[in-house]
């Protein structure tokens, strides 16, 4: 990984969390950071971050029932996934740089 990769990874994360989309960027940022989100979206984002393999069809149905569209669910998923990955990237780079 080069400095260029890190810049591209952070730029892409920023696009996913704050770029144009169908889901409020504040919800996307909350999903990425693990901050509380009301309703099914909070449950779903937590699952994506912590154990995405446990997601089931009913999770998506619950989001649909609360009025979330497929593009919004996609953005919620991506935001939570990029947030989880960013935590790990930051921790790895801090370790290499000698930071606790």
């Amino acid at each position: 990984m080069s400095r260029e990769f890190e810049e591209r990874a952070r730029e892409l994360t920023k696009l996913v969390l704050a770029g144009p989309g169908d889901l409020d960027p504040e919800i996307r940022k909350a999903a990425a950071a693990g901050r509380p989100i009301d309703g099914a979206a909070g449950v779903y984002a937590d699952k994506v971050r912590r154990h995405a393999y446990r997601i089931i069809d009913e999770d998506i149905e619950a989001l649909h029932a609360e009025g979330y569209s497929d593009p919004q669910i996609h953005e919620l998923t991506e935001a939570a996934a990029y947030g989880a990955a960013l935590v790990r990237l930051d921790a790895a780079l801090a370790a290499l740089d000698g930071r606790e």
């Binding site: 990769f5 892409l12 994506v48 997601i55 921790a91 290499l96 000698g98 606790e100």
Partner: protein, 195 residues
């Protein structure tokens, strides 16, 4: 796919790209591509970062070792799709026994110390990132892993911590052995040019 609208890409160009991938690479690659083609402005740069991490021309790690890191990260995240597809490529390079041993217990697997120490770092990065610290970096250095090599493995781990979540959330179908073999051949022939 769990999102019904993800099954068929929205634009004619994306549908054409998907058709090409399914024709040449088969469903193992085509199904994952649906997630990336759903929103190309996000999916395309991600796909490039992921594939670049695996086909780097540097000598830091072999192709088999890179795919081993991908499959290992995917196993830690319990992502069956990614373990299958990237484990198949790793197995084609390192052998099934080595892959199976690493996925069962990297501590006792028949790999060199350099790979073993890198796996230890990637395990902590994936499962317990809060515990990573300077002593983990020192262990890499002691094993002869240069910073640039560590960064390349970290790039793979970052990409798969996203890709695993995408595959499981969207319920990308786990390929059959025949589909895995076809996908492995395509990835090796094409140099991972899936997008």
């Amino acid at each position: 796919m769990r999102l019904a609208s993800m099954a068929v890409p929205g634009s004619a160009w994306a549908r054409l790209q998907l058709a090409g991938l399914q024709l040449f690479a088969g469903p193992a690659v085509g199904e994952a591509a649906k997630a990336w083609l759903y929103r190309p402005a996000w999916g395309k740069p991600f796909s490039r970062l992921l594939t670049e991490s695996l086909r780097s021309r540097s000598n830091a790690w072999s192709l088999g070792e890179r795919e081993l890191f991908a499959a290992f990260t995917s196993k830690l995240n319990t992502c069956s799709y990614c373990v299958g597809t990237h484990g198949a490529v790793a197995s084609s390079q390192l052998g099934q026994h080595t892959l199976d041993a690493v996925l069962a217990d990297w501590r006792t697997a028949p790999v060199g110390e350099r790979v073993r120490v890198m796996l230890s770092f990637l395990e902590k990065m994936t499962l317990r990132p809060d515990e990573l610290g300077p002593s983990d970096a020192a262990a890499l250095t002691a094993a002869g892993i240069e910073r640039s090599a560590a960064l390349e493995a970290i790039q793979i781990c970052w990409a798969f911590n996203i890709g695993n979540r995408q595959a499981d959330a969207y319920d990308v179908a786990v390929p059959s052995p025949a589909e895995l073999s076809r996908a492995t051949g395509f990835l090796l022939r094409s140099g991972y040019r899936v997008y």
